[in-house]
Each structure stands twice: as C-alpha cells, then as structure tokens.
C-alpha cells in the first residue's frame, strides 16, 4: 500500500511539467543546492575552532549546543516561507478504499525527506562525529543526537501548524517575525543569553539519559497536532469561502478607452491573485536594499555600485513583474487573441503599467538622497532608463517566455514560468547602464556618464511609439507559439 503511494509520489515529482520542461533551470537549482550543502559541510567540520575563538572559556560541544537555538529559529523562519504545505495531492485518494488515517500519516511522513532536513543533517552530523563522539561518553552522544533530531522534526511539523494558523491571520506573521528577530536581538545584545539557556537545557537532557523522553514526547505531540490539523482540513477545498470582498474597481480608468480598460484588468490581476501579489511584496523588499548599501562607506561614493543599487531599488517591481508580462495572462491568452484589442494598445498598457510602478519606486526611494545627494541624480537617470529602455527589453524578451503561470500559487521556491531567457534578460538590464556610463568615467567625467544614461532613457521614452511598434512586430511573429505553449498546462 505505502509502496504504491510512494511510487506515485515519485512519478508526481518526475513527471511534473516544470521538471521535464526546463532542464537548464533544474541544473542551475541543483548547483545552488550543492553549493549550499557544501558550505554547510565545511562550516560543520570547522565550527569547533570558530567556536573556540568566540567562546574560549566554554566547552565546544556546549557552545555548539547553544548556537543551535539560532539555527533552529532561522530554520523555522526559512521553512515558513519556503516549505509548502503538503496537503493538496491526496485529493484523488480520498474516495478510494484506503484507510484515511493512513493517508494522513503518509502525508506527514513524506514531508521528512526535504531540503531543510537534509541541510540539518549536513550541518549537525559532521560536527557530531568529529567532536561530540570523540569527547563525550556514549550515553551523552546518543541522548544529544536524539534530542537534536527531535527538534529538527519538531520544526518540520511546527511549520505546518504555524502556516495553517497564520494564513488565516496574516498579522500573526509579523508577530512571528518580530518574535524571532527579538530573540536574536536580546541575545546579541547580551540582555538575555538565549543560547546559554538552550545549551543548559540540552546539556541536562543529554546528561540524564531518561530525560530524552521529553523531546520525543514533544515531537509526538507536535506530530499529533499536525495530524489533527490535516484531518480537519481535508474538506477545506470543498467549503465555499464566503469572504467579504472589497472589490476595488479602478473605475477612473474606464474613461481612458481601450488602454484604460486593459490597465484596469491588469491592476486587478496584480491585486487579486496570490502570485503577482507576492511578487509585489517581494519587490517592496527591494526598495529596502538601499539601507544595506547606502549606509556602507565602501559603496556610497562608488558610482558603478550606486548605479547597480539604483537599478535594484527603482526597477525591482518592473523587473520581477515584467519578466512574466505575457505569462501572467497565459491561462486566458486566447481571449486576448480573439477580442477586439489592438496589439499595440495591449503592449502600451503593459508599458504604462510598469512605468507607473517604476516612477512610484523612484519617489519612494528618493529619501535615500539624504545619504548622498548624488543618489537622487543617479536614480532619476536610472528611472528614465528603466522606463524607456528596460521595459522595452523586457517586453521584447517576454515574447520568448512561453510558460504560463498559475496565478494562485505562492512564488517562494516556485520556478514555474521561469526560463533561461530570464537569466539572459538580466544581462542587458544590469550591464547596459554600466556600459553607457563607463566611457565617460574613464575620461574622468562620471557625471556625464550618469547624464548619458538618463538621456538614453529620455530619448527612448520620446520614441516609445516606434519602439512599441517594433515589439508589436516581434509579438505578432511569436503569438501562435506563445498561444500554443500557454495552452499546455
């Protein structure tokens, strides 16, 4: 029974459309994963000497036990945003003659082999074998390991419970983040040495073998909670959620003809669907990048860096949203092909849509000029360039991005719709402004370089009609290909 479920699980994974379609992306992701694992291995092997440097007076095993609390907090935080709830895939089995409790156990157990648990293994085991096993008595070693891995699994299931709970009350997410940040702060500022308390606890359990019953009992309790949650939520999809909706209608735009009508629909796309909405939130975080870089002496007078940062803070939304210009509408692309919509106006509405957000990002990030007034000039230049040139580049390259996007899914760890062209498009967007700037800076006139970037953008904005007509031709030559691929779900 369980084996056929597991085989089907394997098929689900290997036959998933994204896995079969984009090998390049998968290779890229695997390389990133291997890199992370390699780093963790390295840290784990050498952390004893690092710890000895930081806490010379403490026994290494004890200081490692202490810092584990930070590892677990970070782990929980990352899981919260990246590890999906594994509930949906059992729908077809619910009506088959399989004991339902078995299905729920299966869901919970199959969540164990995942990336975060692998990272935990890689981070803990090398240290364990190298230091704990060689310096501590056997009973201590066994108890320590059982406790630590119970905690890893507790995180695994705690994440599901938190997620389910917080999806209902989004304000709790902020409290959750503040709580974790607060713990980090309190111990960092040595007000509340959380790590010492945690180490002491772990120490006590490891030294009194029978106390391992506590972490194990805790794990079982959390598992039981998660089990109950999944069982209670099995009908949730069938329930009609009667939510009070405040439907913004953006009716002002109705007065602006076809383009206004399209813009209105695009705004609704942005605010009424999970994935585009999350993209908006993520790009809000791009706005904050300035605080990391502008506060650093190294970057504040370095023009190439300032240009680069300006692209990130003023173009974050334009790039993250614009890379999927047509893919967002993949599920109803046919409608746009048969309706009375001029392709030019269709493209222009997208151009205006992201331009508006480009200008908005610029205005929001304008206060960064307090760090250095030159930031304002650079950001104006980049904003003009972004609207004039980048949007056109994105529109052009999007005609090659033929993967539709499921609007209702979360963007975290979701590479649906991502294709190699996205990585390629990053090159002109980030490098072209630097290339425009470079010749002037070589002759010592960096302000002319900035001026040139801005001028290029300005001219491109003036010429937008011709550029859009060029994109229109490209779009027409690609529309059947886009439509065919968008129809494949």
């Amino acid at each position: 029974m369980l084996s056929s479920l597991l085989i089907q699980q394997w098929k689900e994974k290997t036959r998933a459309p994204y896995w079969q379609k984009s090998i390049a992306i998968n290779i890229f992701l695997i390389i990133i994963a291997l890199y992370l694992i390699g780093n963790m291995l390295f840290i784990s092997f050498f952390i004893d000497s690092i710890l000895l440097d930081i806490f010379p007076a403490t026994e290494v095993v004890k200081s490692f036990s202490g810092i584990l609390i930070f590892y677990f907090l970070t782990d929980l935080f990352m899981r919260f945003f990246m590890q999906p709830l594994p509930t949906l895939s059992v729908q077809p089995y619910l009506t088959l003659p399989i004991h339902k409790n078995n299905l729920f156990h299966y869901i919970l157990i199959k969540s164990i082999p995942n990336f975060f648990n692998l990272i935990a293994l890689v981070f803990i085991l090398p240290f364990y074998f190298k230091v704990v096993c060689t310096t501590k008595p056997a009973a201590f070693c066994v108890a320590w390991l059982i406790t630590v891995f119970s905690l890893v699994l507790i995180n695994n299931y705690l994440n599901f419970i938190l997620k389910k709970y917080m999806l209902k009350r989004p304000s709790f997410i902020i409290i959750f983040i503040l709580l974790i940040a607060g713990l980090f702060y309190l111990s960092g500022a040595e007000i509340l040495p959380v790590n010492d308390y945690f180490a002491a606890l772990l120490w006590y359990v490891a030294n009194h073998f029978y106390w391992v019953i506590i972490p194990i009992a805790l794990l079982i309790a959390i598992y039981a909670l998660a089990f109950r949650m999944i069982r209670e939520n099995r009908y949730i999809q069938n329930q009609q959620q009667e939510k009070k909706r405040n439907l913004g209608n953006f009716s002002v735009l109705s007065n602006y003809g076809e383009t206004g009508n399209l813009l209105k629909t695009e705004l609704k796309l942005l605010f009424r669907n999970k994935r585009p909405k999350s993209t908006l939130y993520v790009s809000l975080m791009f706005l904050l990048y300035g605080f990391i870089f502008y506060t650093n002496e190294k970057y504040i007078n370095n023009y190439p860096w300032l240009i680069f940062i300006a692209v990130i803070v003023t173009s974050g939304f334009v790039i993250t949203y614009g890379q999927f210009f047509f893919s967002w509408e993949g599920s109803f692309f046919d409608l746009y092909l048969v309706q009375k919509i001029s392709i030019y106006n269709y493209l222009k509405s997208k151009y205006l849509f992201v331009s508006f957000f480009g200008i908005l990002s610029f205005i929001i990030t304008l206060p960064y000029a307090f760090f250095n007034i030159e930031i304002a000039y650079i950001n104006i230049a980049i904003m003009l360039y972004n609207i004039g040139v980048n949007t056109i580049i994105l529109l052009f390259f999007c005609t090659y991005n033929t993967k539709a996007i499921d609007l209702s899914r979360s963007p975290f760890m979701n590479y649906q719709g991502t294709s190699a062209s996205q990585f390629l498009v990053g090159i002109p967007i980030f490098l072209l402004p630097l290339l425009l700037y470079l010749p002037f800076s070589l002759f010592g006139h960096r302000e002319y370089g900035i001026l040139f970037i801005g001028l290029t953008g300005f001219v491109a904005i003036i010429l937008h009609k011709y550029l859009l007509q060029y994109v229109e031709k490209q779009f027409l030559s690609r529309k059947y290909k886009l439509a065919v691929d968008f129809r494949k779900k």
């Binding site: 009609q240 796309l269 919509i341």
Partner: protein
C-alpha cells in the same frame, strides 16, 4: 461569410484537418458534429486565428483572418475556459468585453436584464469567475459572445455542463438570434440539440468533412444511425 480554401492543418505528420472548400453563408446556423479528435475545435480555432493554417486560407467576409483584425469587431466566440479572465467577477468580465466594443455599464446592465432567464441569480455576486462551477462559467462566456452585437457567433460545445433549463433557454436564444440573421457555428456532441437548432450540419471525421447537409426531419435519424456502435 466564412470561407475555407484548400486548408490543411498538420501537426508533425498527422493531418488534423483538411478542408478543400467550405463556404458558410451569412445567416446560416452550422452545427459541427464528430467524435473527439475529429477536428471540430481545430476548425473553430482556424476561423478565430488561434492557430495558423499549415496550408491554405481562411477568410471572414472576404478578408484573410490571419492578415486582418476586422473580424474581431463582429465575431463573438467562446471555446473554453481560456476565454475567461479568472480573477474578475462575471459583471466585471462583461464590462471588460463591452468596453472593448465601446459599450458602457448601462448597456451591460440592460443586456443582463434582457437575458435574465439564462444567468441572473449569481450575476451580481462578488465571486470571481475562477470560483464558479463549470456550467456557470460557460454561461458567462456564452453571454459575452452575444453582448457585443455580433454578426457571427462561434461556440464549442456550449451545452456541456449546462443545467436543463439553461439548455432550453440557450436553444431558444440561438433560434431567436438566428432568425434575426446572425450566423452561428456551433460544435456539439448532442445530436438532438444540433439538429434542432442548426440549418446545416457538418459531420467531421479524421479531419475531413464527410457529410454536409441541410437539416431536414430525417437528419437526426441519419446521424444516430451513423454513430451507432458496431458490435460484431
């Protein structure tokens, strides 16, 4: 109104549709019949320029559909869910379509009132199209084709998923619009519906039109005989 000239649609080595010559005149109500994979949707998609023909030309009002966009002003079409915007409410969707044809909200409200028999109860609910049942989605899509004062309406299996009273309503509506001179091309698996509403029936099999006949009282029996399973 619609003409096919030596049209072929080939996928790889397989010919999905091959139509030597087909003329659909203004005011006709054409029913397309055929088993799954016969080429009905391919034929409709070619008229709507959703897929390019491998060979030949499709014309609408004497203009090649892939070269001009004039047909979009007088053609209403609904083939599948891909013709609906999932995150709009039914009203917003109809408003969007109406806006493209220079109509306003008042026109939409009048239209809904005129067609109250089809779908009015849920029309003003604040539900997104993606949350509606398959039948109700179809209703919105079908209404959208009629909203734009079309000269020709193209529907792919419009009776599927509809409840009985909506099916009767739709049949009457199609007859009424047909009487007013609107051209229809409708595919369906329901032989009874098709023979009841259409003035002409095209039977498609393996990408070929193997029967093209004006509907007469015997047509239903002939079609039923044709699709009779052959047990040996």
């Amino acid at each position: 109104m619609i003409e096919f000239h030596q049209v072929k649609k080939i996928y790889g080595t397989q010919t999905a549709l091959s139509v030597e010559n087909l003329q659909i005149k203004q005011g006709e109500c054409v029913g397309l019949i055929g088993n799954n994979g016969a080429g009905k949707t391919t034929l409709l998609s070619l008229i709507l320029d959703l897929i390019p023909a491998t060979e030949g030309l499709v014309k609408s009002k004497d203009k090649i559909v892939s070269k001009t966009e004039d047909w979009k002003t007088y053609t209403g079409s609904f083939l599948n869910e891909g013709f609906l915007i999932p995150y709009l409410t039914p009203i917003e969707f109809l408003e969007f379509i109406a806006g493209l044809h220079h109509k306003n909200i008042a026109d939409v409200k009048q239209f809904i009132a005129d067609n109250a028999g089809f779908y009015v109860d849920n029309m003003y609910e604040k539900k997104y199209l993606r949350e509606l049942s398959a039948g109700n989605k179809n209703k919105v899509g079908i209404l959208a084709t009629m909203l734009i004062n079309p000269e020709i309406i193209i529907l792919d299996e419009p009776f599927a998923n509809l409840d009985p009273s909506s099916q009767s309503w739709l049949k009457l509506k199609i007859k009424e619009l047909h009487a007013n001179g609107i051209t229809f091309i409708i595919s369906s698996h329901d032989l009874r519906h098709v023979t009841e509403i259409s003035s002409r029936v095209l039977l498609i099999e393996n990408g070929l039109i193997i029967k093209d006949t004006h509907t007469n009282p015997d047509t239903l029996q002939e079609l039923e005989n044709y699709f009779q399973p052959q047990f040996s």
